[in-house]
Amino acid sequence: MRKDAMVRATTAATFLVLTLLWVHVCRAGDTDMFDLGNEFLSKGEYAEAVKAYETFVKENPEHRLAAAAQWTIANIYLTSEEDYERAVALFQSIVSAYPNTEWEVFGSYRLSQCYEHQENWEKAAGVYRITIERLSLSADPAAQERVRGLRRRLITCYQNMGDHESLIRTYHEIVEADPRAPSAALDQFALAQAYLGADVPDRAVDNFILVVERYPSSGYAARVHSEYAEMIASQREYDWAPFSLYQSGLRSAEIGQYEEALTKFDEVIELQPNTGMARAAVFQRHCVEYRKTGDAAALREILASMGEEYPYGLGGVDVGRLNYFLGMIIDAQRELQSNPEDVGGSYLRMGIGYHQTGAHFCGIDSLKKGITRAPQTPNLYNILGYCYIGVQRYDEAISTFQKLIDVAPEDPNSYDSMAEGYYSRGDTAMAIQFYQQSLAVDSTFTNPYYMLGRIYYELGDKERAMEHLARYVELDPSSYQAETARGLLNELNPPLPADSPETQGVRQ
């Protein structure tokens, strides 16, 4: 009896083990541990998440999600734990385990990121280069997008390594890959500066001139003119007349002197036929026509048809931005057609679109119509005031901003706009008064701090300038103006040299 019972028990146990083994094999693809890892991750319990993912990978090394699990573990070490050594090891194993997949590409990128954290710029650059080479072979537009991003990382590496030769080579690659890119003027400018850094002034001059001739509408062309004209003159003769005419045409167009603008652009075309600047001038003529008529659809069509013909992105115009605001105008016009009883919203959007594309007179017209229908809408007055500033009609801007204050007295922006009206007219004292009033309404509203900082800087009141700029940086550290504010602060209060007695004192 006892023996039979033992046999039965053994048989049952064997059966159970075999059944469990079978179940285990059948369920080899089970994702419960992966899901568990995800759940710990979503709760921020990273150590538990790592354990769950590791178990999943151990149990299912061939599972399609094994890569995703390893990837997440590596990311936890990189981002949350800042354990770069472990992250490097894991990303390296992902790169070698999954060749010719997205994991390899992204793994390489993260691997370089780890090296950057370790300030191992050389290794980071090496991996970036290899990844770029592989991605460059792909016809996928997303891959090309990634190549652009990786080249930018390479720039950072070479800058930190002080490797001018590689820096120049990479800038060349960036510029040549897409001379129409929105950042093309900046990249050409940076290339020129890289040549300067490498002490190759003649090539620097070549590239500064290319900035002017290819991208005459960009701010970088204006910077070359204002900051490097003397340096260029020391290297060679350069005729600035066409560029000065072009810039003058832009200014005329901006303030609504359309006929003068057209004449100046015609002269540029005549002086510099078949050059980048001439093509840019042809496009500017179209822009002037648009500003006269407000026909956004027509300019959009021109953009679409001319974009491909222009090798340098329409002379440095931000085509994406222009397209966006033209689209806003067209949509608002459509909305108005379908809803003629609109209470001002369509006029406001049209006004914003016109203001942002420099068609200030059309903006004024739209916004006035909007105000007739919705006289209590603050933004209509606000944008109208800025359109008046655009065409240098400062008194009308100020009276419009007064109406804005009447409609929205509790809004700090109302006083901020009024201050800008006075500042544009050159009345600094009134500007200061209104910026202060804006802060009295809301002491966390940031723009007045920046503007007051700038005004006090211009007035030579160092202490007040620093006080306001520092407050601005504190309140809005990531804004585009914060960088300028930091620059001014450094200028007003330069950091002490490392070997100064004061610094030594601080160290002790």
Partner: protein, 308 residues
């Protein structure tokens, strides 16, 4: 969370306990084995519930009921955030925005289930909400509409499973919610092929420009690893076949609402309505690779109901 399944914590504890009691019997301590024993693979909740043939509201009710009812997702006292697609001012005829009737129905169901608050939110202008009819629909039911157009409404969260995203700024209301319901419209998109539930999540995120600059399809998939809706209600009552995402374009009256909890599954199935292979839509394939969900429609447990 799906309550019909063993909770993850409970699952680990049980696994560990059994492992201890059966020391030396290593297989028993394997959670996957325990799981297999407690829940056969063929059973379990539906992946997708599809209601077809009725009006937008009727289809919505039927799809959610078929999936287990709103009570499966919303409990008494919950804060619910609903994310429609209000990206244009167009009315539902154009099929570029979630049908207001679908939004209204879901909000009403949530409130009926005892939700203390329902927020209808998107990173789109208030004017869009007003003009496309979603504001009116939401207001009728007592929901609060949030046009999340200022940065202070967002909070940064890490994206540790992402390939191009490492962090995103997500609308705080979504992060604070007990229940997040994604309510996209199914439509064509000039850049991504289609815009479905995962693409709709771009409207709870602050910096959309970053997505476009760093590989839109991958960024959409990455975002889906960081934010998982409790429920997805896909408005496919009328779908936009061309000229998306804004329209107007060619439309087709599909008269369907698809409800599910797996964003990849919902999007993959919906892609087939457009005659598209889910694998060919970049963000669906990438999200599948990242383990967000299942894109093989033949593997999904689907129940289709007719509404008359």
């Amino acid at each position: 969370m799906d309550e019909s399944r063993l909770s993850r914590r409970e699952f680990l504890i049980r696994g560990a306990t059994l492992g201890l009691t059966c020391a030396g019997f290593s297989l028993l301590s394997s959670p996957s084995v325990l799981k297999a024993m407690s829940e056969p693979a063929a059973s379990g909740p539906l992946d997708l519930a599809i209601a077809k043939g009725g009006d937008p509201s009727g289809n919505t009710i039927k799809a959610i009921e078929t999936l287990g009812g709103i009570g499966r997702f919303v409990k008494k006292g919950n804060k619910v955030v609903v994310k429609p697609n209000p990206c244009t001012p167009n009315r539902p005829e154009i099929a570029s925005t979630t049908n207001p009737a679908v939004v209204e129905t879901v909000v009403a169901m949530c409130l009926e289930a005892g939700a203390r608050e329902v927020v209808v939110l998107s990173h789109d202008s208030l004017s869009n909400f007003e003009r496309n009819g979603i504001m009116e629909a939401a207001s009728r039911t007592g929901a609060r509409v949030v046009a999340a157009v200022t940065r202070d409404l967002y909070e940064s969260v890490p994206v540790l499973r992402g390939r191009v995203l490492q962090e995103v700024e997500i609308a705080r209301d979504v992060l604070d919610a007990d229940v997040f319901i994604n309510m996209p419209i199914a439509k064509h998109h000039s850049e991504t092929g289609l815009t479905l539930s995962m693409k709709n999540l771009m409207g709870i995120n602050w910096d959309r420009g970053y997505f476009h600059q760093h590989g839109l399809q991958q960024a959409i998939a990455d975002l889906s690893t960081a934010v998982k809706p409790a429920l997805i209600v896909m408005d496919a009552n009328r779908i936009l076949l061309t000229n998306g995402p804004s329209g107007p374009g060619e439309t087709r009256d599909e008269k369907a609402v698809i409800a599910g909890t797996d964003p990849v599954a919902v999007d993959a199935y919906t892609a087939t309505l457009f005659g598209r292979n889910p694998e060919d839509i970049g963000h669906i394939r990438y999200a599948y690779e990242l383990g967000v969900g299942e894109m093989n429609v033949e593997k999904l447990r689907i129940k289709e109901e007719s509404v008359h």
